[in-house]
């Protein structure tokens, strides 16, 4: 296995219609040996382009890509010792599963017995033994997905690349495959680079997550760190479901004011916001850190707001309550026993120990 490194990598496309556009800008990161790293971001953010550059399917405009100890800038995909699982699985429809699995090894002119052994091993790991003589069209989506993974693992590559491999599966199968992939990573101890637009997939699979937007890496951190300490409003809004609420606030003295309601700040926070005296800031609070006053447990301090409820969604294990603050709609994820219905005027308690403040201009989190 091996590490993967991007040094100042940039990728521009010259599109017939769009003209020149930058897909990846100044990308720098190191993926450690045996690490499972997930690239996440909205469509067109540059995550798949980054993966394809690692694979050698796209050539970077500038910068260096390192796999193991080698700079692979000019190496053909086959010489990079990587394996890739494609979004559409890319199984050869006219070949049997056995032929699909052995295709790469046959091209490498490996001995027949070795190929048979490797195919048998991969089939056993992925539960494909009974299907080796079938064609891909005879398999279900989940089974095809396994074959695609199998084709990657028979080659024992240095790095595994996964390009949104679960996006074509239904929700239930996706959960199952997610667990299987996590298990596979443990068993293989492989370096895995995984691309997805699904933040739940990213949070559950990745040891570290690279959040991208508009070709730029926004933050690289562990799932817990990303959730607890998002570096900017994009990351804060992208990670977490429902996303973090953003509320307009003004700093005055040792307090912030939200729609005229004063919230006294802890000293450390007040010190951090010193530079924003008299100015607008964006207060970020996750929906699960807003409680109904009737079912509040461990929040101290007088951080209360009374608002009229706009809508309520009952999800069984929790309720989502929507209410307006200024011209923004705020979501609270509350205990299902919280009394709530549209039109009810309700007092909410905000857990200020968990709030973040962002600079409205730079959208960066204000450190304190």
């Amino acid at each position: 296995m091996a590490r993967v490194e991007f040094r100042n990598v940039r990728k521009q496309f010259d599109d017939e219609k769009k003209g020149i556009f930058t897909a990846v800008e100044g990308s720098n990161f190191v993926i450690n040996d045996r690490e499972f790293v997930v690239f996440v971001g909205p469509s067109g953010c540059g995550k798949t382009t980054s993966l394809r550059m690692i694979a050698g399917l796209e050539k970077q405009t500038s910068g260096d890509i390192i796999i193991g100890d080698r700079i692979v800038n000019d190496l053909h995909p086959k010489d990079r010792d990587i394996a890739m699982v494609f979004q559409d699985y890319a199984l050869y429809p006219h070949m049997t599963i056995r032929e699909n699995l052995s295709f790469g090894l046959r091209n490498l002119k490996k001995p027949k017995t070795y190929i048979e052994e490797k195919v048998r091993e991969a089939a056993a790991v992925l539960g494909l033994e009974e299907m080796l003589d079938r064609k891909p069209r005879e398999l279900s989506g989940g089974q095809r997905q396994r074959v695609a993974v199998g084709r990657a693992i028979v080659r024992d590559p240095q790095v595994f690349l996964f390009d949104e491999p679960l996006s074509n599966l239904d929700a239930k199968l996706r959960v199952q495959m997610r667990v299987e992939l996590a298990d596979l990573h443990k068993r293989l101890g492989a370096t895995i680079v995984y691309v997805t637009h699904d933040q739940v997939e990213a949070m559950t699979l990745g040891e570290r997550i690279v959040v991208m937007n508009q070709g730029v890496i926004q933050q690289i951190a562990s799932p817990a760190e990303l959730y607890a300490n998002p570096q900017n409003m994009f990351v804060a809004g992208f990670i977490g479901s429902p996303p973090m609420n953003f509320i307009d606030a003004r700093v005055l003295g040792n307090s912030v004011f939200v729609e005229g309601t004063e919230f006294a700040l802890q000293d450390t926070i007040a010190d951090g916001l010193r530079a924003y005296q008299g100015r607008e800031v964006i207060l970020g609070i996750r929906p699960e850190h807003i409680f109904g006053e009737d079912v509040v447990s461990s929040v101290s301090g007088n951080y209360r707001l009374t608002k009229q409820i706009k809508a309520v969604e009952h999800l069984g294990s929790e309720n989502l309550i929507y209410f307006p603050i200024g011209n923004r709609t705020v979501t609270a994820k509350v205990h299902p026993e919280t009394v709530a219905y549209p039109g009810l005027s309700k007092t909410f308690v905000l857990d200020f120990s968990k709030v973040h403040f962002f600079d409205p201009e730079t959208q960066q989190r204000i450190e304190y």
Binding site: L57, F86, A90, R155
Partner: protein, 306 residues
Amino acid sequence: MQTQTMTAPPRTPSPFKRFWREYGWAYLFILAPVLLFLSFTLYPVVTAFLMSFQKYNIMNSTWIGLDNYKRMLHDDVFWKSIRNTVIFTIGTVPINIIITFGLSFFIYQMKNSWQTFFKATLYLPTVASGVTISIVWLAIFDPTDSGLLNRLLELFGIDPLIWLGKSNSALLSLMLMNWLGSHGAGIILYLAAMGGIPKSLYEAADIDHASMWTKFRRITWPLMKPTTLYLLVTGVITSFQVFISVYLMTQGGPNFATTTIAYLIYETAFKFYDFGLASAQSFVLASLIIIVSIIQFKYFSSDIEY
């Protein structure tokens, strides 16, 4: 005294009426093509089949059993026409498919605008009639010095050839014309099929250490199989029925060197007015086409699903 009023049960429409209400329009719409098929395809085929067992005369046909078939099988020209047709088919269909596939593969690598240009250019001869093309090729094969092909040979110091007038070169000349003829429809089909192959298959192959040749041999060519089968079957059927070029350029000669089955059927029917024998020959041609098509489907068919 009690009075009972009986109400009549609601009348259910007859099955015919129900059927008509549900499917009437559908059957009405397909009536026209069905009538056309019955009048101009099935009726002539059945009549011709019956004719092949008769000494046919418009006024007075006589039933002669298998005599037409016996005469046909003892006729040297018939066997020569079979031989010529088979040689023509074997000599043109595979080569045409290779040329069509090669051109398509070449065009597919180009940018969109160039693809459109070549598709249009190569498709153009398809819309020209066989008669026009044959006349152009007559000028190309002109045995005098003014013939285009002979002029070309002259550049290399080769004496002019009588392309269509010699037994050993006439059939080859017709085949040459066929090779260089219309590949347009095939190119369109191959290009569509190539465009339908997901790019990710080639990318996966790139990662899987496949060379250009391996990608061609193991991915492109096998995935072209349904298109190739279609072109093979239609190509074989068309070349088994080759007629216009023979009729206009060689009249089956010299010495029956270019007499194909279709041309022989024409001669038998419309030169010698032996409709019974011509019908028998037609049925042998039809049977041959059916048998060859079944064999092709059996050995080349595949259902590819991405």
